[in-house]
């Protein structure tokens, strides 16, 4: 069967777009062929900087003929129906239709429609221009004379030629005859821009690929990558060095050349005083060259590997020396940046953060650093870290963001902080935290283990999460612009892999307290907000109606109920105090008083921080103290509880995703969280693990089945009686031995499992649970729950309820899937 060759020859296509474009071309053409009933044998697409190429082989030469029967109106039906039928089927008159006999419903017309298949060449001529015109480039452009007219072709860069041939392997191929925006499809292209610019005429893919190779174009990007990788390794090894492999760079470089020629250059050894990562970033990002290391020391050497696009007449000498000059200039910039960074102490950069906005509603980077410092200090004892070191580490961790090197290479953030911290004589753990507090970045990233890093990393992530939660910028669907899912997963991994015992709610409370003081608090305090009501302003809203304030002030709906009263009182009313309005006046005054009281309670958060450096108060934690104040007030506590519960359920979801990915049962997470008050992730996971093991055992399976059976019966009977069966069963009403045994077992198991849970011995709690099983089994075996005596029945239902209650010592079994 015949093959299709398609080439779209253009000016240089951006490297990053080539792979997807080749894929899109293959997909669009083959999808269209299949939609046209042309099933092909295989297809492959290629991209170089100047061309997209596609070969589809084994396409039928014609579409098959289509025969279709279409049912029409009944014989003798209304004329309008018959005319419609003729129009829809293309029949000239109703005599052309067959009549189908149907003794039951009456005879009706049948049209036989025959659609002869078209030649594939014609189909291609129709579909290819449409694909070219609608090709999904990330960015496309117009060019040349035709761009002045509407409907001009858009392509990624100017398109110069189209090859489209179709034909059998053994015969001459036909050109698919079409034109796009004045460009006629044909069979000519060009070779390498500099080494073989002449025209090439081709028949089909085989000679196309071979002729291109003769014309110094390697069509297949994978082959170009192989050449670059192999030659680069060989060049490095020839000098006993090792290529530092870099897949992303390789992909890009292969998209910048049609004829890769790998060359090695060098730079002055004095530049090796710059950290390796900076050298690599400079050479890689700016010059798209590979770096080379010494296999013994793993340190970089003063060599680099470049990929040229030509075999130069001097063997590449001029190219190497040109690249060396550029790299020298780039490295001297980098060296200058690095050395001038070293002249400024990290802490000296901090004041500038007060002028840099982190997020419009979360204040400056400066405020953020202050929050992280304090939260990290609170976390320090929980992870066994030295508090002073943690404070210092958190203080400096972000400072490198303002260094020149990080300004130039943002991907080196953290790492440069570590280098600069070490250079100014900081403790090794303090320095390491600059780099490690960003970790883990993704599911594959390493989790820090140094307690100082763990504390700062947790503080950074929890602060971010709580902050965005408080201003209601949560991730929705696929949108997570602040990478909050990643932050939550980071917290989970930090806690689990370092076995950190911590109450998340407690940390969330502290984080929100810090935000209330450092980020949300107006410059002159919360009371200032009381003076800002003015419904006459353009946007009609006072500052205190912003979500971050409403979160607290309106946590119980107070503002919703009293908004107008407060407003009226604030702007003053000439009739105030007049006799008939006295009730209203009192109502307003009370609302306004409560409003002011709330502001002053929020303001109370400031006290502990204002005096935190004053002895002897300095020995107390200002954060704990301030959190205490906010928790003791109902409306603030309510706000914090709501936020915390919401964020915790987000964590539960992340944990489920994490466990599911590890192949664990995520429904068990629900079963544990459903117990309530579960905010210690390590305990949650231990419980889930023990529960998982228990449910794998026969005892576990049977107990689960028993518990479910109890629950089912209960819910049916509860519905029937429209009541619940809470309360202790009456021992006097036990009629059967099995009832007594079960009641006894429940009592014992409850106590034993409860004690084990208190010891955090979840496996122990599960084995205690297992003892319940024979009694439950025997009960269901011998005892009829719905006894004729209503009292006995009620008592038995209460006993069933007790089974359910007993299992809640370890998990909510009703949430477990079978």
């Amino acid at each position: 069967m015949p093959d299709l060759l398609l080439e779209l020859f253009s000016e240089e296509i951006p490297a990053r777009m080539q792979a997807k474009a080749a894929d899109d071309l293959r997909r669009m053409v083959t999808d269209r062929l299949v939609a046209e009933g042309l099933v092909y044998e295989g297809a492959k697409a290629f991209a170089t900087p100047r061309r997209l190429a596609l070969t589809v082989h084994g396409i039928p030469a014609r579409q098959s003929d289509l025969k279709e029967e279409r049912r029409g109106p009944r014989v003798g039906g209304p004329d309008a129906a018959i005319q419609g039928f003729l129009k829809a089927t293309g029949l000239a008159s109703i005599e052309e239709a067959k009549i189908q006999r149907d003794p039951k419903k009456g005879d009706f017309y049948i049209a036989l429609i025959e659609k002869p298949g078209r030649a594939t060449l014609d189909v291609l001529a129709e579909v290819l221009p449409v694909i070219i015109r609608t090709f999904p480039w990330p960015k496309s452009m117009r060019w040349g004379e035709r761009s002045g007219k509407p409907g001009a072709l858009q392509w990624v860069r100017p398109l110069h030629a189209i090859i489209a041939t179709f034909g059998l392997e053994t015969e001459e191929t036909d050109v698919v005859s079409f034109a796009v925006d004045g460009l006629e499809a044909g069979r000519t292209t060009r070779g390498h821009r500099f080494m073989a610019p002449a025209e090439i005429t081709v028949r089909r893919f085989e000679d196309y690929e071979a002729k291109l190779l003769d014309a110094k174009v390697v069509l297949d990007p994978e082959r170009r990558k192989d050449v670059i990788r192999t030659d680069a390794k060989t060049l490095a090894q020839a000098q006993n060095f090792e290529l530092v492999e870099d897949q992303v760079l390789l992909d890009e470089v292969a998209g910048l050349v049609e004829w890769p020629v790998v060359l090695m250059g060098s730079f002055d050894e004095e530049f090796l005083s710059i950290p390796d990562e900076v050298i690599r970033a400079t050479i890689r990002n700016n010059q798209k060259c590979f770096v080379v290391s010494d296999p013994g020391t793993r340190k970089l050497t003063n060599k680099f590997i470049l990929t040229a696009n030509i075999e130069a007449s001097d063997g590449g000498k001029a190219i190497v020396s040109g690249n060396e000059r550029v790299i020298r200039a780039r490295l001297s910039d980098a060296k200058y940046f690095y050395e001038s960074d070293l002249k400024t102490k990290l802490e000296a950069r901090l004041p500038k953060f007060d002028n840099i906005v982190f997020h419009e509603k979360l204040g400056t980077q400066g405020a953020r650093i202050k929050r992280i410092e304090r939260l990290a200090a609170e976390i320090a004892p929980l992870v066994g870290a030295d508090v002073e070191k943690v404070k210092r580490a958190a203080h400096l961790a972000k400072a490198d963001l303002l260094t020149e090197v990080v300004g130039e290479f943002p991907e080196l953030q953290g790492l440069m902080g570590k280098y600069y911290a070490l250079a100014q004589g900081e403790d090794a753990s303090v320095a390491a935290a600059s780099e490690e507090h960003y970790k883990p970045q993704g599911p594959a990233d390493r989790v820090p283990t140094d307690p100082v890093s763990v504390a700062v990393s947790l503080a950074d992530k929890i602060d971010t999460l709580m902050g965005f939660w408080a201003i209601d910028e949560k991730p929705t669907g696929s949108k997570d612009p602040f990478a909050l899912r990643r932050a939550a997963l980071g917290v989970i991994r930090l806690v689990l892999s370092n076995s950190v015992r911590a109450s998340l709610s407690d940390l969330f409370f502290k984080a929100i307290t810090l935000a209330v003081y450092f980020s949300f608090r107006p410059e002159h305090g919360y009371s200032q907000l009381a003076a800002t009501w003015d419904p006459q302003t353009e946007d009609g809203a006072a500052e205190w109606t912003e979500p971050r304030y409403m979160l607290f002030l309106n946590s119980d709906g107070f503002i919703d109920r009293n908004r107008d009263l407060i407003g009226m009182h604030q702007i003053g009313n000439p009739d105030l105090g007049s006799h008939e309005d006295e009730d209203k006046y009192t109502e307003r005054a009370e609302a306004y008083e409560e409003f002011n009281r709330r502001l002053s309670r929020l303001e109370a958060v400031a006290g502990p921080f204002m005096f935190e450096s004053v002895p002897p108060l300095a020995q107390f934690s200002a954060v704990s103290n301030a959190t205490e104040r906010l928790s003791s007030e109902e409306f603030t506590k309510l706000a914090m509880d709501t936020l915390t519960a919401d964020l915790l359920s987000f964590f539960a979801d992340r944990l489920k995703v994490q466990l599911r990915e590890q192949g664990a049962r995520h429904d068990l997470v629900d079963a544990v969280f459903a117990l309530g008050d579960q905010d210690d992730l390590l305990m949650v996971v231990r419980r889930v693990e023990a529960l998982g093991k228990f449910l794998d055992s026969d005892d576990g399976k049977n107990l689960l089945a028993g518990t479910k059976r109890a629950s089912n019966i209960l819910s049916i009977e509860e519905k029937k009686d429209k009541r619940s069966f809470d309360g202790t069963p009456d021992a006097a009403l036990y009629r059967l031995h099995e009832e007594k045994v079960l009641a006894k077992a429940i009592g014992e198991v409850k106590a034993e499992a409860g004690a084990a849970v208190a010891r955090e011995d979840f496996a122990g709690a599960m084995s205690a649970m297992a003892k319940l099983r024979p009694a439950v089994d025997a009960f269901f075996d011998k005892v009829k729950v719905n006894d004729d005596d209503a009292k006995v029945r009620e008592n038995r239902l209460k006993l069933l309820n007790e089974i359910r209650a007993a299992t809640r010592a370890v998990a909510d079994f009703s949430k477990i899937q079978d």
């Binding site: 000016e11 951006p14 452009m141 100017p158 500099f194 130069a312 040109g322």
Partner: protein
């Protein structure tokens, strides 16, 4: 080409490089213009590019444009950063289909042999927020060094380019450093002579770099500049308003004087920015204000003689 005397050769003379490029593009058929007589940040600001890129009329021009970037000043100490440098600008409307070949031949004319050097077109999409302009193209590399910008304008001053113009910008100092084999711009041979007759780039511009850096970063009168910005903005709007010939707003008679005020505002903004008196948030709003002026000028231009269809 053999007739070129040594002191005029692009590989040893800065002015020789400029003259060679002018000659090359003159031979192609461009009008060779002189620099615009106002301070601009790039050759693109010259009305011969910004405004002439708009409208349907054919337009081929080339010129040198001194470019001022107050923030890039380094008191003459950085080897390749200056607050004042030269760009060579070519604008061809509509973009000819062999524009890449024309460009490569211009490189050959200044002595860059494509059989010896690795010339590459590396993706670089161009956007000027202050001009309300964007285009697609490349930075052109020679042996790993960026020597030119190559752009197909898609939109300028908020107006779609129809037809599209091709723009080439040669960074002359950098190109000359490469050709002359020197690492510092200040070391360039300006006039291509030897011995006592030789004039270095530094002899002409080092003092200027030092003085202007001082001015741009430390002494520029910010109160005056804020006033100037407002005045230029006001004047631009006034000329745009007064320039309409009739109330039907079909023909504009003062697009060029109005655009001068837009250029003025843009440069004043750059100076204020260099002085560090514009905060991050304000910065965006100033850029928007200049862009609005540029857009309004573009709108006037397509109703003016040289920007109209007929």
């Amino acid at each position: 080409m053999d007739a070129i005397p040594p002191h005029m050769r692009p590989e040893r003379s800065f002015q020789g490089l400029i003259l060679t490029l002018q000659r090359y593009w003159a031979d192609y058929g461009c009008v060779i213009l002189q620099p615009y007589d106002m301070e601009v940040g790039a050759g693109t600001f010259h009305p011969a590019t910004t405004l002439r890129a708009l409208g349907p009329k054919r337009w081929n021009a080339a010129y040198v444009q001194p470019s001022r970037r107050p923030k890039d000043g380094r008191y003459g100490e950085n080897p390749n950063r200056l607050q004042h440098y030269y760009q060579f600008q070519v604008i061809l409307k509509p973009s000819p289909s062999d524009l890449q070949e024309l460009y490569l031949k211009s490189l050959a004319a200044i002595g860059i042999d494509s059989a010896l050097h690795d010339i590459r077109f590396v993706e670089d999409d161009w956007e000027s927020p202050t001009l309300g302009a964007w285009g697609l193209g490349w930075e052109c590399w020679c042996d790993g060094m960026e020597v030119s910008q190559f752009t197909y304008f898609q939109q300028v001053a908020g107006v779609e380019c129809a037809p599209v113009a091709g723009e080439l910008t040669y960074g002359l100092e950098r190109l000359a450093c490469y050709l002359q084999g020197v690492d510092r711009i200040m070391d360039l041979n300006f006039n291509g002579r030897d011995g006592d007759e030789k004039v270095l780039y530094s002899e002409i511009f080092l003092q200027a770099e030092q003085e202007y850096s001082r001015h741009n970063f430390e002494y520029a009168d910010t109160a005056m500049l804020f006033d100037q910005f407002r005045m230029a903005e006001g004047a631009c709007r006034k000329y745009l308003e007064d320039g309409w010939k009739g109330s039907d707003r079909k023909e504009h008679l003062m697009a060029l004087p109005a655009y001068d005020q837009c250029i003025k505002a843009s440069h004043v903004f750059n100076l204020l920015d260099a002085r560090g008196v514009i905060s991050v948030t304000e910065r965006q709003s100033y850029i928007m204000r200049v862009r609005e002026l540029a857009k309004a000028c573009g709108e006037a231009w397509v109703h003016a003689e040289a920007g109209r269809a007929s």
